[in-house]
């Protein structure tokens, strides 16, 4: 009488919990997911190809539009990658300011993640509080470079301008408030049993699978692997900073939540060190007006909020544009862990798994 049939449904691309235009094809047996296929490409703009037709200076504006939640991290990767290609040394003050802004951007990105992830799972309150703090950070970015999301914050060889007057004071106001805000989020979530029921043991991904799938960032660190590019291959001014890499071993959604919160504390520490030890000096190195490359090829990884973000450049002789540019986007690589995380689990866990991976579709589709 009852036929036992598997059903195939689409989650997305317009689902509010897929954070953009991610489509996930799910094969369901009742409420259990038996097969999961992420379908991407709805936001494809051909950024890599466009960048091959733009000069090294111009190309940076497209990096804003990859991971638009953490545009400054993307700018940092591009600027440092090109500097590595041309062997440009950046002044120390510029390095500090870059580190400062990148860490503030990490906070902004993690706050957005916390807000939306909690909202997806059903904790509405945290959403507005986290957005409030993010708003303050975005105002700081606006004060520094004039835009809130598509920042184009850095230039090849340093920065366009120094910090605006009053920036350090405003940043310090944020620093003083932020730890209390973090405490508030924890009060709302960490010991909350509803939150724990939705996250503990959900969407597990152990260390072997993480490494096999190339997953990086907080997801990898929540599986117990202390790999962080800021420590492994220090860029910007991270070599001079004192911070720790938070890890957990449970490898579930709850562990990733704890890791990200702990990371916010470390970012807060780094920002404080940058603000306190900001050296004097110029912010821009002397660079030729037109950059002409030699035959070369470099890969430059940085630690973006979502994982390892790498820029790969191939240059030709006398060229002003990259011959080939490739982005190793953390969200793209992390997304392939989704089937592994949720196959055999319940449908409701899919939302938690997408949230905990912290994917941004602008970066996946490029």
């Amino acid at each position: 009488m009852f036929k036992n049939e598997e059903m195939e449904i689409n989650l997305g691309p317009q689902h509010p919990s897929t954070h953009g235009v991610l489509r996930v094809k799910l094969r369901l047996d009742g409420e259990t997911v038996t097969k999961c296929t992420p379908v991407i490409g709805y936001l494809h703009r051909g950024v890599e190809k466009i960048c091959e037709n733009k000069t090294y200076f111009q190309g940076q504006v497209w990096t804003d539009r990859l991971d638009y939640v953490a545009a400054i991290s993307n700018n940092l990767g591009w600027a440092e990658g090109v500097e590595k290609l041309f062997g440009i040394e950046v002044p120390r003050r510029a390095k500090y300011i870059r580190t400062l802004l990148t860490e503030q951007n990490r906070l902004a990105s993690h706050l957005l993640w916390l807000a939306t992830h909690a909202l997806d799972i059903g904790a509405m309150t945290v959403f507005l509080y986290a957005f409030r703090e993010r708003e303050y950070l975005l105002d700081l970015f606006e004060a520094f470079c004039g835009a809130r999301l598509t920042t184009t914050a850095f230039r090849i060889g340093g920065l366009r301008e120094d910090l605006p007057p009053g920036f350090i004071k405003d940043a310090q106001v944020f620093q003083d408030r932020f730890l209390h805000c973090l405490y508030e989020y924890e009060e709302l979530l960490t010991e909350n049993r509803i939150w724990k029921k939705r996250t503990v043991g959900v969407a597990k991904l152990n260390a072997e699978d993480c490494i096999a799938l190339g997953v990086t960032g907080p997801v990898l660190r929540a599986a117990g692997v202390p790999y962080d590019i800021r420590k492994a291959f220090p860029n910007a001014a991270y070599a001079e900073m004192d911070f720790e890499i938070p890890t957990r071993t449970e490898a579930d959604t709850y562990a990733r939540y704890l890791v990200r919160l702990a990371e916010m504390r470390q970012s807060h520490r780094i920002i404080q060190q940058c603000l306190d030890g900001l050296p004097e000096g110029p912010v821009m190195a002397k660079i030729p007006k037109i950059l002409r490359s030699e035959v070369n090829e470099i890969y430059h990884p940085i630690e973006a909020p979502k994982g390892e973000l790498g820029y790969y450049f191939v240059s030709e002789k006398g060229g002003t544009m990259p011959y080939r540019m490739h982005v190793r986007a953390p969200s793209f690589v992390n997304l392939q862990a989704l089937p592994k995380m949720i196959e055999g689990r319940l449908l409701a866990d899919v939302i938690a798994a997408i949230g905990t991976l912290d994917v941004v579709l602008g970066e996946i589709d490029r």
């Binding site: 733009k54 200076f57 111009q58 190309g59 504006v61 497209w62 904790a123 309150t125 509080y129 409030r132 708003e135 303050y136 105002d139 606006e142 004060a143 520094f144 470079c145 004039g146 835009a147 598509t150 184009t152 366009r160 301008e161 605006p164 508030e184 009060e187 709302l188 010991e191 909350n192 049993r193 509803i194």
Partner: protein, 169 residues
């Protein structure tokens, strides 16, 4: 107490304390000017209250004139070359009584501009800026093609704000 902690309503209450604290703060300060100054309200009542913008805000591209009302641009074409989306088109020309070249045409396709400020940065004569305008939506596509002549095509003044804005009602 430990039994109480196993109940979910207890967690809901814990969450509500945080919310309640903020609710109290805002509720008791909302209509009192004195208290209001001390507690910073994050929500801005846009569009009734104009937004605070930072001095470096990047808005729409605007051509500048000097004190004599002369267009400052001297057609070095640096901005045209640097623009990543190629939205600036300049035509060089001559004008009576002016030594420097004069832009006969300065077209700006705002629909593709990404407000990156590279053009302003490249201009060695300080003849363009990005103004502080962000309400740039319009109903017609032609409204985004800005140039030097005509009423709708004004590169010197801010764009007209859309007629159906809430602020006007």
């Amino acid at each position: 107490m430990s039994f109480l902690r196993t109940l979910i309503p207890f967690d809901i209450a814990a969450g509500l304390t945080v919310t309640g604290r903020y609710f109290g703060k805002v509720f008791f300060s909302a209509n009192r000017k004195k208290v209001r100054a001390q507690i910073k309200h994050f929500t801005q009542e846009y569009p009734e209250v104009p937004v605070r913008l930072q001095p470096r805000f990047r808005g729409r591209l605007t051509l500048l004139k000097d004190e004599q009302g002369e267009i400052k641009c001297v057609c070095c074409l640096a901005c045209e070359k640097i623009c990543p989306t190629e939205v600036i088109t300049i035509e060089k020309g001559k004008k009576e009584g002016r030594k420097m070249p004069y832009p006969v045409r300065y077209d700006f396709e705002m629909e593709r501009c990404i407000f990156c400020e590279f053009c302003v940065e490249s201009c060695g004569f300080d003849s363009i800026i990005l103004n502080h305008q962000f309400e740039l939506a319009a109903y017609n596509r032609e409204d985004f093609s800005l140039g030097m002549d005509g009423v709708a095509q004004n590169m010197f003044e801010p764009s007209p704000v859309g007629r159906h804005s809430v602020a006007e009602d």
